[in-house]
Symmetry: C2
Subunit: 239 residues, 2 copies
């Protein structure tokens, strides 16, 4: 199924941006009168009829719309520390979008090697992943913040808050993410995934002091991006 | 933890191949008398003391060994059709190894676009993924066969056999992979994942006639490699 993406849908009129217009009118040679499918990135699929087929700016008239198109029955916010290699984070974002997430927050941990993170590429990847996996909603990507800032910002959140903490010690008795998900009905879930060097003890303690439940992802030792996707899969299969 | 890989461990003597020897003696500058950890790829971790530190061929004396090191409580064989883009299959293999699989079979479906598949690169990737995720066993990779050949070869297998079939029709009532796994105790599991164009009806019918249970991976529309990894995650979390 061929999908276009537009943030400019209002009053029954849908406008495609330059890139999408070129793809629609030049590459796919759609003409005035053709019907196209457009997602707004917020969860709605629109069926539209083209009224202007210029590669500079395609305009279409909305015929019908379907809310919550390709949606999932939970709201998942993944806060994941940047990986040393950017490709691995982009890979995580693409796969997580296919399976089902709503929000991505790059968070910088005290043990993070990479402390700079550009969100623009991830946003592009998420748009094409949403189109490819037939979802009306494109996950939002937040600007990077420190792990501690992220924890404080979610201190009052009523969501099910989990932190995947690797080190096992008497201060942090961890439960399996599967068991925690099975024992909780919350539709809103926030999961913190640490850097290669794991969270610092201070970060883990701050998280727990603010309602984050320490969980483990089973016995396998997973890379940051694999752990993040495994957590997304656990929510997908357990919700 | 620094791990070496050797298929040549016998009579208390462990020999590293050229690549591993260079890495051990030249790159990491290990010398006679040093202790190293070596996996045999079959599940055992060996602690060894170097007796010959030549980059051409390191030899070491086995001090102790630990069987089933980094093992998982099931045996998972993933039969996955090649993806159009090789990187995606390699990515699947790496991540699946981290999470936990035992055998990978590239299978060529009637709707497969790619019908040629080289296993050598995948084997290298699996060795480094096993080392990286601290597993003594390296998943085996089989030579490609057709989907129908694979199904026939497993006709008499007592394993829990699943086929992730996308098309829904009255002939193939599919159940959720999670429910099927929850309702079955088998430790040996075989999962068939189709190409972008899905299995042919003939392939799906042959699979079911040979004891494969048609399953779905939830409501999301997943790429071949994402579906394969989601299935691996489902087994990991449900076993």
């Amino acid at each position: 199924m061929e999908l276009f993406y537009s943030r400019d849908i209002a009053g029954g009129i849908c406008r495609l941006d330059q890139d999408e217009s070129v793809h629609c009118a030049k590459v796919l040679r759609h003409r005035t009168g053709d019907e196209i499918s457009v997602i707004d990135g917020c969860g709605t699929l629109y069926r539209c009829r083209i009224t202007t087929d210029s590669p500079k700016g395609v305009e279409a008239m909305v015929i019908s719309s379907e809310e919550g198109w390709g949606s999932h029955p939970y709201r998942l916010h993944m806060a994941v520390c940047p990986t040393k290699n950017n490709d691995r984070y982009e890979w995580f974002a693409e796969k997580a979008c296919e399976i089902g997430i709503d929000e991505v927050s790059p968070v910088i941990g005290e043990h993070s090697e990479r402390r700079v993170f550009k969100t623009s590429r991830i946003e592009k990847i998420l748009v094409s992943a949403a189109k490819q996996s037939l979802k009306g909603a494109v996950p939002t990507v937040n600007e990077p913040v420190s792990v501690k800032e992220f924890i404080k910002a979610h201190a009052d959140s009523s969501a099910l808050k989990l932190i995947a903490y690797c080190f096992e010690d008497e201060n942090t008795p961890r439960r399996s993410i599967k068991d925690v998900l099975a024992g909780n009905e919350s539709e809103e879930i926030v999961i913190l995934i640490g850097p290669e060097g794991d969270f610092s003890v201070a970060e883990a303690e701050l998280a727990m002091a603010n309602g984050f439940i320490p969980v483990h992802l089973g016995d396998s030792r997973l890379r940051t991006e694999t752990a993040a996707l495994a957590a997304v899969s656990a929510v997908y299969f357990c919700r």
